[in-house]
Symmetry: C2
Subunit: 331 residues, 2 copies
């Protein structure tokens, strides 16, 4: 094909990957040749260093709408290229995740994006030796793969500071547990929980620290909130580390006969579509999953093209105030 | 490997696929040989009629939690086998879906499950000539692929009959549109809308038929409900064809200052996890997505094993009454 268009294989590759450094004229020339020849990515792939034009996306599960935001962002970027994303559910345990990654690698994808993986840093670096890799939502630094993450410390600070500013003192937190082999300090849920504790201490509220350890999903939030609301004195605000858990906390408040925000303030994290529904109206932390997914796709394709310098792309979260948080009830 | 275990390739294949007709003793023998040899599915695959032990799952998108139920059911079944599912987002248009299917086929999956595909029946039969295929949530009959579906007419009847029984007469409906090439009568949303109209006519309420055509998602439900609630006289109940749309309808009711169910009853379809949250408490139709996903996995593996007789697996839906529906307000 490259000879038909009178351009180099590198230029064809750049056009296909929508890379920089290709003039509009060259892009048209290559695209025209592609159209004339009834080009199919698979066919070209065989000629171009064995490339398959597929990337693998490992998600813990698909139930969290925040992951749908990430996928939408990734798809938005890939739609400008000839790449396709295959998703695989990494599941809740390391053996399942391990098997999922092996399956993708044996199907010879050109690169991998792993969202909040459970694997150790060593394992991730091992994968990165085999394939270009971008890791989402983990905080460690590696010379072998790219990272896309949000500043979870800044995000948790925004949430807790918002509740403090409203006058809350008995602020509780719902966190997550899994069998990740990452260093705790590199895990987003550990960072959010540690930041919550730090702010409470800094405001002389160490005695009011109350953490329920469950899961970042509806049931986890429901169970965690029930545990927290059974304490005496009862918290006046709950900061859930994820919107999914906050939805469960809202349900637990409802079951306990507490109005939100009159009897209990609830804040989440992720600013999912559900948080924005006016009858849920959840105060949340936005970390722009769409942009994170877009960035991950862009970085991975750059790596596939040959970049070796590790890149770290960090989103700064923002606070979205809605009707689920207000001043605490009068004592 | 088969020679090491002193068993036939067919027996190994049956154990790997968790098929019937294998004695526990044989299963142990094969499993032991697999463990001793450090067996990897990929390695076996090359020896066994080119099998890859991966199947492709084409979903319209991952944002609908009902699809997560389907995936959970599928995964539950595959976890008893050596198969893995690769997902790919079929998207909102036929060209995107076409490209997604091509990508899966060129990566040589052993079979395909397509959920609510937009493709024509001809195209599906064309795919089925190439690969074992199971189609979810479409109603046409084909001699070339298996179907897993719910009885959408029965489900819609349950929802509308429930609202009629509560005393509603001005019942409106929110339906879905896409660029599917299926016969309208084979599409679940067309069936649900037609059943709604039939029941209204049968109860002498043809004059109260009111349908908003938007999308089965939150924004679609919100827009549809706003359109319906602007009519004079206003409907006292809305039957949304999917829970995702019902969530949007609840939000629209909230914005219009209507309490649910006091001012407006809302019923959904799919009985997603969100419908069950006590502060949403949405009356809905359960069609057991988990069981549909499990059945699809089982049928596909049987087809991969050689079954050619087409199978049709139909779930009978049930009505789940919650707090979002009640008698209409006094006139």
């Amino acid at each position: 094909m490259a000879s038909h268009a009178q351009v180099s294989v590198t230029a064809v590759s750049k056009v296909i990957n929508n890379a920089y450094g290709v003039s509009p004229a060259m892009r048209n020339k290559v695209r025209t040749a592609i159209d004339e020849l009834g080009y199919r990515p698979q066919a070209v792939a065989r000629g171009m260093r064995g490339r398959t034009f597929t990337i693998g996306l490992v998600l813990p599960h698909i139930r969290n709408p925040f992951f749908a935001d990430i996928l939408d962002g990734l798809t938005t970027h890939l739609d400008t290229t000839d790449y396709q994303a295959f998703m695989i559910q990494g599941g809740a345990t390391r053996p399942v995740e391990h098997r999922a990654v092996d399956a993708l690698l044996s199907r010879q994808v050109d690169g991998l994006i792993m969202v909040a993986p459970l694997a150790s840093k060593n394992r991730l670096e091992h994968i990165a030796q085999d394939k270009p890799l971008v890791v989402l939502a983990r905080h460690e630094r590696s010379p072998h793969y790219d990272s896309v993450l949000a500043d979870d410390e800044a995000g948790a600070e925004l949430a807790v500071a918002h509740l403090l500013q409203l006058g809350h003192r008995r602020i509780a937190h719902i966190t997550h547990q899994d069998d990740s082999l990452a260093r705790p300090a590199d895990l987003l849920h550990t960072i959010r929980a540690a930041t919550y504790q730090r702010l409470m201490r800094e405001h002389g509220l160490a005695g009011h620290i109350a953490i329920a350890t469950s899961y970042y999903n509806e049931q986890g939030g429901y169970d965690g909130a029930r545990e927290l609301l059974a304490r005496t004195p009862r918290p006046t605000a709950i900061f859930a580390g994820a919107d999914q858990a906050a939805l469960g906390a809202l349900a637990a408040a409802h079951d306990a006969g507490l109005t939100v925000p009159g009897g209990l303030s609830v804040a989440g994290y992720d600013n999912t579509h559900l948080a924005a529904l006016p009858n849920i109206a959840l105060t949340s932390i936005d970390q722009d999953g769409h942009e994170m997914g877009r960035a991950a796709g862009k970085l991975l394709l750059e790596r596939i093209e040959g970049r070796r310098t590790p890149v770290r792309f960090t989103v700064t979260p923002t606070l979205i105030v809605r009707a689920s948080t207000a001043a605490p009830p009068a004592p």
